[in-house]
């Protein structure tokens, strides 16, 4: 792929986003929608720039990020650990598989009231919800990645006298890394979504709370700002994960 093709792709990709903003502006300009319901894009972006410098909005962003990172980290650690264990040991596999089959399709948001009653309205319940939701895709892709590691690699390591524990960390984990990172990417998107929802349901701070406050007072402009912010946060975090991926997977044939 040459540089020119990439430039064309990027330009082509910007078209629908530009169109979206244009239609948005057009709808307002031609008076198809009243400005109280659909504020013009310029106003929203200006409000956003103004909010980004305000202390309270920055506190909201930080609260959201804290919950997102805490939940996502727990999900990554637990997901990779359980996924690897299930792929390596048949006994653990037999125990984990049916439990995951039941828990994975369960809508975790429905568990949120129970978490609220048990863990309170603070950070804990939200972090637990994020971790519970983001864990399963990571667990499943770790399990999948680790269970298709080529047996010959493991045999070669054993023939070279590598102890079983070292095989796990030096052979299986790196070989499963592409699949694990794909799972982490899905888990990250889920974390963004879930943390926002949890904050919308009950919270005193965070981006989700900012949206709900705006909705209750019919401030349409302020409703768009948190949504655009979480979309940008998702994009930035996704970019960081992509960078981590190409660093971790340097030397892999195709990523």
């Amino acid at each position: 792929m040459n540089g020119r093709a990439i430039t064309t792709d990027v330009l082509l990709g910007l078209v629908p986003i530009a169109l979206l903003v244009a239609v948005w502006q057009g709808t307002v300009s031609f008076g198809l929608a009243p400005a109280t319901l659909l504020p013009p894009p310029g106003l929203v972006f200006m409000r956003m720039a103004q909010q980004l410098t305000s202390a309270s909005f920055n506190r909201d962003i930080l609260a959201t990020l804290l919950r997102l990172f805490a939940g996502f980290s727990i999900a990554v650690v637990l997901g990779i650990a359980i996924g690897l264990a299930a792929a390596v040991s048949p006994a653990i596999n037999a125990a984990v598989r049916p439990v995951v089959r039941v828990l994975a399709p369960l809508p975790k948001v429905a568990l949120y009231p129970a978490l609220l009653l048990l863990l309170g309205f603070g950070h804990e319940s939200k972090i637990t919800l994020v971790a519970a939701d983001a864990m399963f895709p990571i667990l499943l892709s770790t399990y999948y990645g680790a269970s298709i590691v080529e047996q010959k690699l493991i045999w070669s390591a054993m023939a070279a006298g590598t102890p079983p524990r070292a095989i796990l960390f030096k052979v299986i984990l790196p070989a499963a890394a592409p699949s694990i990172l794909t799972g982490c990417r899905i888990g990250l998107v889920i974390s963004c979504i879930v943390v926002f929802l949890a904050e919308m349901i009950t919270s005193t701070d965070g981006l989700g709370h900012a949206l709900i406050t705006a909705a209750r007072t019919f401030q349409a402009v302020d409703m768009f700002v948190p949504l655009i912010t979480i979309s940008l946060l998702g994009l930035i975090l996704n970019g960081l994960l992509q960078a981590a991926r190409s660093y971790l997977l340097r030397g892999f044939p195709e990523v």
């Binding site: 064309t8 792709d9 990027v10 082509l12 990709g13 910007l14 078209v15 629908p16 929608a33 319901l37 037999a94 598989r97 049916p98 439990v99 995951v100 089959r101 039941v102 828990l103 994975a104 399709p105 369960l106 809508p107 975790k108 948001v109 429905a110 009231p113 129970a114 009653l117 048990l118 939701d133 399963f136 499943l140 892709s141 999948y144 899905i186 998107v189 889920i190 963004c192 979504i193 879930v194 926002f196 929802l197 919308m200 349901i201 989700g208 949206l211 705006a214 909705a215 019919f218 349409a220 409703m223 948190p226 949504l227 979480i230 979309s231 946060l233 998702g234 994009l235 975090l237 996704n238």
Partner: protein, 260 residues
């Protein structure tokens, strides 16, 4: 049927029973008013399902979910397949999809409510949005991975581009598409619950969160059990259908990826 396959069949059921037992023990141990035992909660389920109004609410939820899901699948699969086969279409839509992916669809509910009201239309629209992204993504990945040689053979035999898309790309991408649909199904349920939580008017989510606000903890936990059971049953039914449709393909993930 040997004992081994019998145990394998029953394993999910055993897991359910195990989790409920764990819950029972934890509740007895904590002895907390806001955390009833599993037994009490299960006992409250028939009362909800027997109540006519609650039943109508739950069925209304399911109807919205079915409509939103069906519409999303019908739109997303062709779009995903086109994106997978044409570089231009892919680079046209990809950035837009990347921008809207991390936005929680249920969070659009307050804005959509302003335009379309609190009725069925806005809730169905939110479910539609939530389901379409994973289905588009998986159809895209599936269509991208179709072997070129098959398409060349098809072209050599005189199939038009449209026919190639339907007769070669669609079946070849079907396992991946169905993985996306399965994710979408779980997502539809989650979006359904959250959209009803925001627009408290009718539906299963409405019952759940109203009970939470009024402190009827039995109902809260019973609704959690009902919604959980809905998720597990729908998933199992979908899995049956998938096995029939793509018997020729080895399942990649035999447990679904759940989204929110």
């Amino acid at each position: 049927m040997t004992l081994r396959t019998l145990i394998e069949r029953l394993a999910p059921l055993l897991a359910c029973v195990g989790l409920l037992t764990l819950w029972q023990v934890a509740a007895l141990g904590l002895n907390n008013d806001s955390f009833p035992t599993a037994l009490d909660s299960v006992r409250a389920v028939p009362a909800i399902l027997g109540d006519k109004e609650a039943l109508i609410n739950i069925l209304a939820s399911l109807r919205r979910m079915a409509i939103g899901f069906a519409a999303a699948v019908l739109v997303s699969i062709p779009l995903g397949l086109l994106m997978g086969r044409s570089r231009g279409v892919a680079s046209f839509f990809n950035p837009l999809l990347m921008v809207i992916y991390p936005v929680p669809k249920a969070a659009l509910m307050p804005i959509i409510m302003l335009w379309l009201g609190v009725g069925d239309l806005s809730k169905t629209l939110v479910i539609f949005l939530g389901v379409s992204l994973p289905v588009i993504y998986h159809s895209f990945e599936g269509a991208k991975a179709v072997e070129e040689k098959m398409l060349w053979s098809g072209a050599a035999m005189g199939l038009s581009a449209m026919q190639r898309l339907i007769r070669i790309v669609l079946p070849a991408a079907l396992p991946e598409i169905l993985t996306g649909c399965r994710t979408g199904l779980v997502l539809a349920l989650i979006t359904m619950v959250t959209s009803e939580m925001i627009a408290r008017q009718s539906g299963a989510g409405n019952i759940l969160f109203n009970a939470l606000d009024m402190g009827q903890y039995d109902t809260v936990y019973a609704m959690i059990i009902i919604i959980g059971a809905m998720g597990i049953c729908l998933d199992a039914a979908f899995e049956r259908m998938r096995e029939r449709l793509v018997r020729w393909s080895e399942p990649q993930f035999d447990i679904p990826l759940s989204f929110s």
